[in-house]
């Protein structure tokens, strides 16, 4: 366990950026998002949810999967081998860290997505524990401790004037060694302060819902009339899916000019009207009702069924706050019988 005074963070980041491309939360106009570290650009370590979750570093919004030449002969070039420069993410919150392990279930299961795997391997995550939840946070619903981030390589806890950093993986330990010059050894007092912060972080949730047994309940809810009411508000934008740290649907598109081209994988959203539209005209999800149902059933029923009971939600609250029409997963959990307490 090491520590650093918050006044000296610039120094830490300078050292980190020498180890790899360093990204941390930065405010640009009204939006806080992960950005490449630049000297003199202050990081924002207060805002809990970045605009986009860090999934974009593993699973970029746009990514070339294949390049080709098709003049005389067809030549295919695997683009996934180019993925994966050494990257350090600083300030990933526990919920977003947890989301990565959900994403792993998709992209690291057979057949493994090579580009994802390389990026995952080459990235060091320095998580930053939360001190106090925001009104839309409900990560504890999914048993995520806002003061801990087991999936991270390093965990940083803000004890007030200092960040206390703990290594949680081999990669993390290696990095700590490299940072020896700027970090101080933590004391047992620090350890106590960390514990206090962690404990406090778990209190003060405004939003308490429970998903206990919800996946099973939802088995019978596919035809529920609830969906008929719920979907009407949806405007079929992709805000919820693109901002969601666990959403992972994609599309493959061709970009070609002359005799060469590339196949690009890009984020797609099950909310979009053409998501399942087939060339012949058939669409198994013809209206927004089916699409809205798909999204929530996927998160709360299908995903748990496919992946050992784990829900595809980490309670980060981005969709709750950003949905233009206030149609969010909290409402669905409540309506579909998730236990509720608190506000």
């Amino acid at each position: 366990m090491k520590k650093i005074a918050k006044t000296k963070l610039q120094e830490l980041w300078r050292c980190l950026s020498a180890e790899g491309a360093l990204y941390l939360p930065v405010r640009s106009d009204s939006v806080v998002d992960f950005a490449l570290w630049q000297e003199d650009v202050p990081a924002d370590l207060e805002t809990l949810n970045t605009f986009l979750p860090p999934k974009k570093f593993y699973y970029p919004q746009t990514e070339t999967v294949l390049k080709y030449e098709f003049g005389e002969n067809l030549q295919l070039l695997d683009a996934s081998s180019q993925a994966g420069e050494k990257t350090i993410l600083f300030g990933v919150r526990p919920c977003d860290t947890a989301a990565l392990s959900l994403m792993d279930k998709v992209y690291l299961s057979e057949p493994v997505d090579e580009a994802y795997r390389r990026r995952r391997e080459n990235t060091v995550i320095i998580a930053l524990g939360c001190r106090e939840p925001e009104e839309t946070c409900f990560c504890q619903t999914f048993d995520i401790d806002p003061g801990k981030a087991p999936g991270a390589d390093l965990l940083a806890i803000d004890t007030g004037t200092e960040l206390v950093v703990t290594a949680q993986s081999l990669k993390g330990e290696e990095l700590l060694v490299a940072l020896n010059g700027v970090l101080q050894e933590a004391t047992s007092g620090d350890e106590i302060r960390v514990k206090d912060v962690q404990e406090q972080a778990g209190e003060g949730y405004l939003t308490r819902v429970s998903v206990h047994g919800l996946a099973e309940k939802l088995d019978t809810c596919f035809a529920s009339p609830y969906w008929d009411r719920l979907y009407r508000r949806c405007i079929a934008c992709g805000t919820c899916t693109y901002l969601c740290p666990t959403c992972h649907c994609f599309d493959l598109q061709e970009y070609a000019a002359g005799h060469s081209g590339e196949r690009v994988r890009c984020w797609d959203a099950c909310m979009f009207t053409d998501f399942t539209q087939m060339a012949g005209g058939h669409n198994p999800r013809p209206t927004q009702k089916e699409r809205v149902r798909q999204r929530f059933m996927h998160k709360l029923n299908y995903f748990p069924r496919q992946h050992g009971g784990e829900y595809a939600c980490v309670g980060c609250g981005r969709c709750v706050r950003q949905c233009p029409v206030n149609l969010d997963i909290l409402e669905v959990i409540r309506e579909m019988g998730g236990a509720v307490d608190g506000q």
Partner: protein, 659 residues
């Protein structure tokens, strides 16, 4: 990908000197879709064309690109070539490597690179070319002429003369129009009635012409070759088949109304013909004033009519007829002078408009052709003619020139001198405009021979002064103030579009200018056509004109009509807009920008789940559409596309040209 062949023309040395043909052929062979590429010294020659045809056959080509001179030069040649080899002619694309490459660039290397890019672009487009066909439409061989003035009469006669059936629809009880109101005509001073009435009679007697007077256009539907027009035949209250035109009824009718034909200078009866030489010379009852219709008493005419032709029970009748072509010849209205108090019009009886003066001149007019002052019935000595009343006046009149006033005022000056010995005409003018055969000479005579005094200056005010009128102005040439004492003032009031022109234009789907004159399709090259195919213009409904010009345009319109009706069928441009109904929102943004009225609304019925839903979509009339493509950009969802220049094709060209 479609099997495409590329044929590069040397054009002798015109192209070959600047473009490396060998290199271009090699590059073409490597383009996507190209399965064959060749070259020839003159592709347009018989040998060149044979090469293309042979290659289409032996290489099973589906698309052809010729790199040569401008498509404006040989596109048709090569279309015929590919058609002769069994392909749709629109499978051809031309890369313009002469006018837009070899002739304007010097450097062989860059010119060759550009030529290759142009060929690549043409190939990219050709790959997306689709078979296009001109569609054929039958033509209704009957014409409609709206308006029975000299323009309508001339057009109807000319069309009938070519052997086609014409319906002539006139709003008033008689044809004749404005020209019938005139006395003599410039520059020859021959009598208007003498030259007009024979034509009116000819109309009445023509077997090919059916005359509908006292009738109005109710509705126009359809399109070129296939108009369906509803005409309202207003109740005349006189049975035309029984009436002999004896005129007894008009003598006995107790109601007196201002005569429209004589501009209120005399009265007519409630049962009337507008003027003695009317065609048909059978009266109509003006129900607005007829005592039977207003007060439910009288019925004198019924009693007096020897033929028993009076029929108060008649009602307006709607008839619907199909026409292949329509001529609009609805004429003009003289400007109403409400705004021009300074001229004392309406305040002093001796201030007249030029058309009123014309009636005074006319032998069948209120004074039997004598020029007499309405105030005292005596002939005037000094008469002021004020030109440009309501013309060339941005502030409260028309900004445009009424075109005929200079000439008819000269005519009035001459006739005044002839009819009133010793009379002196004073003409106040801004400019005197006399472009026309023998017009300047006519004007010269007015001041040289007849001593009309022309004063360059607009009259600022006319003061009634006892039984005289004081006219105040300035002579802009000398700078002298002018104050004349005259006995009569004649105002050359401007020419307005006919009241109701705008409404008719809407019915016809033709456009008007800001002053409600009908717009021609092109001011220079298509002066008698409108944007709506099959609708033509004659006379002053298009803008101010004199009689010779009106008659010339009427004949031209008739010629356009006969050319149209003489065809076996109509062939449309194949490159027309088409609507993808799936994408169409039905907001009709396309309709608004279409200059040809080629787009209309259509209700589409489609299955959605178990229901049948109806929704609005746009529909393109392929005959009317001329293929400008303005609609394609107005259409936000890209639902309307232009065949031959589709979004897909142009996008492909853009991508290929930028490579």
């Amino acid at each position: 990908m479609k099997r495409t062949g590329v044929f590069i023309c040397w054009c002798g040395s015109n192209i070959a000197a600047t473009v490396d043909i060998e290199l271009a052929v090699a590059a073409a062979k490597n383009m996507p879709g190209v399965v064959f590429a060749d070259q020839n010294k003159y592709m347009c020659s018989e040998i060149g064309q044979e090469i293309i045809k042979e290659a289409i056959r032996s290489h099973r080509l589906e698309r052809v690109v010729v790199a040569s001179c401008s498509p404006r030069m040989h596109e048709n040649t090569f279309r015929k070539t590919v058609a002769a080899a069994g392909l749709n002619p629109y499978f051809l694309e031309i890369a313009n490597v002469r006018e837009q490459c070899s002739w304007v660039h010097k450097d062989k290397e860059t010119a060759t690179a550009k030529a290759i890019a142009l060929i690549r672009t043409a190939v990219a487009k050709a790959l997306r070319n689709e078979a296009l066909f001109a569609s054929e439409l039958p033509i209704e061989r009957r014409a409609l002429v709206i308006g029975g003035g000299i323009a309508g009469i001339q057009a109807a006669l000319d069309i009938a003369d070519s052997g086609f059936v014409v319906d002539l629809v006139e709003k008033e009880p008689s044809i004749g129009g404005r020209m019938a109101q005139l006395d003599k005509t410039f520059p020859t001073l021959d009598c208007s009635a003498c030259i007009l009435t024979p034509k009116m009679v000819e109309v009445a007697q023509s077997e090919k012409i059916t005359l509908f007077t006292y009738a109005e256009i109710e509705k126009v539907e359809g399109y070129v070759g296939n108009f369906t027009v509803t005409v309202r035949n207003r109740a005349r209250s006189v049975d035309m088949s029984k009436c002999t035109g004896c005129g007894d009824c008009m003598l006995k009718c107790p109601v007196k109304v201002d005569s429209e034909f004589d501009l209120g200078l005399v009265k007519r009866r409630a049962i009337y013909t507008p003027f003695p030489q009317a065609v048909p010379n059978k009266p109509a009852i003006d129900r607005e004033h007829c005592r039977w219709f207003t007060e439910n008493k009288c019925r004198v005419c019924e009693k007096i009519c020897p033929a028993g032709a009076i029929d108060y029970s008649q009602e307006d009748e709607l008839m619907t007829v199909k026409y292949g072509a329509i001529v609009a010849a609805t004429g003009f209205d003289p400007k109403k002078l409400g705004n021009y108090g300074e001229y004392a019009y309406g305040k002093h009886p001796d201030v007249l408009t030029s058309l009123e003066f014309e009636r005074l001149l006319n032998a069948s007019g209120p004074t039997a052709g004598k020029i007499l002052r309405p105030s005292n019935g005596r002939p005037p000595k000094n008469v002021a003619f004020i030109q440009c009343v309501g013309s060339r006046d941005k502030a409260k009149g028309n900004p445009y020139c009424a075109k005929v006033c200079c000439m008819y005022t000269a005519k009035h000056a001459i006739l005044l001198c002839e009819k009133v010995p010793g009379a002196r005409p004073f003409v106040f003018y801004i400019d005197v405009r006399t472009p026309g055969k023998d017009y300047e000479e006519f004007y010269n005579r007015a001041y040289e021979e007849y001593g009309a005094t022309y004063i360059k200056g607009n009259v600022s005010k006319v003061f009634p002064d006892g039984d005289k009128l004081l006219v105040r102005s300035v002579d802009a040439l000398s700078g002298a103030l002018v104050e004349l004492e005259v006995e009569m003032v004649v105002l050359a009031n401007s020419v307005d579009a006919r009241a109701g022109a705008k409404e008719l234009a809407q019915k016809l789907s033709i456009t008007t200018n800001a002053f409600n004159f009908f717009n021609e399709a092109h001011p220079k090259l298509r002066p008698v056509e409108t944007h709506t195919a099959g609708i033509f213009l004659a006379g002053t409904c298009q803008g101010p004109k004199d009689i010779p010009e009106t008659v010339a345009q009427a004949s031209a319109a008739a010629m356009k009509v006969t050319a149209l009706l003489g065809k076996d069928s109509l062939l449309s441009t194949p490159t027309v807009a088409e609507v993808d109904e799936k994408l169409c929102t039905g907001d009709m943004s396309c309709l608004v920008v279409c200059p040809y009225g080629a787009i209309s609304e259509k209700i589409l019925e489609e299955r959605r789940g178990r229901e049948t839903v109806r929704r609005k979509v746009a529909e393109v009339n392929m005959v009317l559409c001329q293929g400008c493509g303005a609609c394609t950009v107005a259409c936000r969802p890209g639902a309307i596309n232009l065949k031959g220049f589709t979004n897909e094709q142009i996008m492909a060209e853009v991508e290929a040209i930028c490579l």
